[in-house]
Symmetry: none
């Protein structure tokens, strides 16, 4: 039974990310954290900008402790930005609502999070999703209900 992502899992994740970074010809940083959001592995591939490892970490942390991909928090962040900003200061690392972060889930258990930074928003998100699908992690997360509710309220 899975408990937390280990070095071996992290290396596989980083290998997919590095391959994609080379394919794109971009400097990327990737962070892997365990289910409590603690660092397992961070790597800044050559050419990635100095702040990208910490940006990747904030995406990985968010996806682990919020238990859904960081991009799924966009609805919340946009419907109530001041509140979301405050919530974002409550953890060990910043909680962010942006693409490029995914939750690691195996057999229904949360085992960690991954964050990618340094590409375009679309590239970061595509690589994060590729990591999940290529390595067999689950991809089904219930969307934050508040976003749908807020959208519904707006429509009325």
């Amino acid at each position: 039974m899975p408990k937390n992502v280990m070095q071996d899992d992290a290396e596989k994740i980083l290998a997919v990310a590095e391959r994609e970074a080379l394919r794109l010809g971009k400097g990327l940083s990737v962070a892997v954290v365990d289910s409590g959001g603690f660092i397992v592995s961070i790597r800044r591939f050559d050419g990635a900008r100095p702040m990208t490892p910490l940006i990747a970490l904030s995406k990985a942390y968010t996806s682990a402790v919020m238990q859904r991909p960081s991009g799924m928090l966009k609805g919340w962040s946009q419907s109530d930005p001041v509140f979301f900003g405050k919530v974002g200061d409550l953890g060990q690392f910043p909680i962010v609502a942006t693409g490029g972060g995914v939750t690691l889930k195996l057999e229904g258990e949360f085992v960690g999070g991954v964050g990618v930074s340094g590409g375009t928003p679309g590239e970061d998100e595509a690589i994060a999703q590729l990591i999940l699908s290529e390595l067999g992690y689950e991809t089904d997360f219930s969307e934050w209900a508040g976003a749908r509710e807020a959208a519904a309220e707006t429509k009325d």
Copy 2:
């Protein structure tokens, strides 16, 4: 005469919240604080996400020290978000303008606050309101005058 919510009161509040959490089939966290905003009881029911206890606490704290339900601060937060964000940093815990937090008031005295987190915004707010009505706490709070003023200015 009441002064502050005690463990016995907190247990009754938590029992209502737990019953509703089970009825909804959702993982919720609930926080109860005294009139000074200090923690009396926090509980993360099974399945609630890791950050929900602190989000519940911020709602309970806000409702206690601002002496009106946290959702009632929305007008202020929206009419002057930068100022509200700064005010939100002044306390012991974040001050937030969102539903799911209610002030505990008995015989005209402020005795504490409750915060609920983990459901949709509508669910959190409905449970918080149910706690007030079912346990006999007062529900009349004068709305923040600034919100009405701002609204009036907009109309002019």
Copy 3:
């Protein structure tokens, strides 16, 4: 196989603590966190001082994320207080080197932490230890090697 302490476990822990608080006639606060240091349950028993829930939380957090009882960090804190103070700011909550915090470990797995605050240092520690022994948690933690080394260096 255990993963993290749940509400049911937390209630048993709080029951032992409450019984001891009543026996001592003291206002105590108790905090229970999961293996990542996230709040599971906090309770301030009647009469406990306002800051005690957060002090209990810092002890519980420390014991969970440092993976040994908070009191076991005293050697480190005393041999290198400036460094320990900096490390103490790196987490979600303060990391402290004081008695009254214990790590929850079952079948060799770290499943959480407990912190007790409000009594004398000896009382807080005795209650924390009683929780471990009475509820069948493991009590063997390898002591921090640095403390022994520092002590040995001092002796030389």
Copy 4:
């Protein structure tokens, strides 16, 4: 001419650290940063405690931006702990005076820093020194003059 440590260099550093961690049978974390103190690579080997990656990072950061091994700051930290504590808050990560951190210097140029955490103070320091000698980094750093001065004053 060297400027900054790259992924290839970081991998060699991590390989030495992992070999030593396996030899000691201990869970260690290692951090590598560039000459500006920005993360290049962090790895928490299996079994290392949750906070060790950040402790390793603070040692690597210190050694990079202070341009001498973190342990060399002990004299300063002990002769003026309050001042040193404040200085330690001025950077992007904590500046610490403890063993286990070394500056990466090649051909007289500062190219980064390494931090090791999770072993005894002696083990962390020995591994850090081994990384320098085995991989051909320079080991000569002028000691902080203030420490000698303070020592001289004490003798007078």
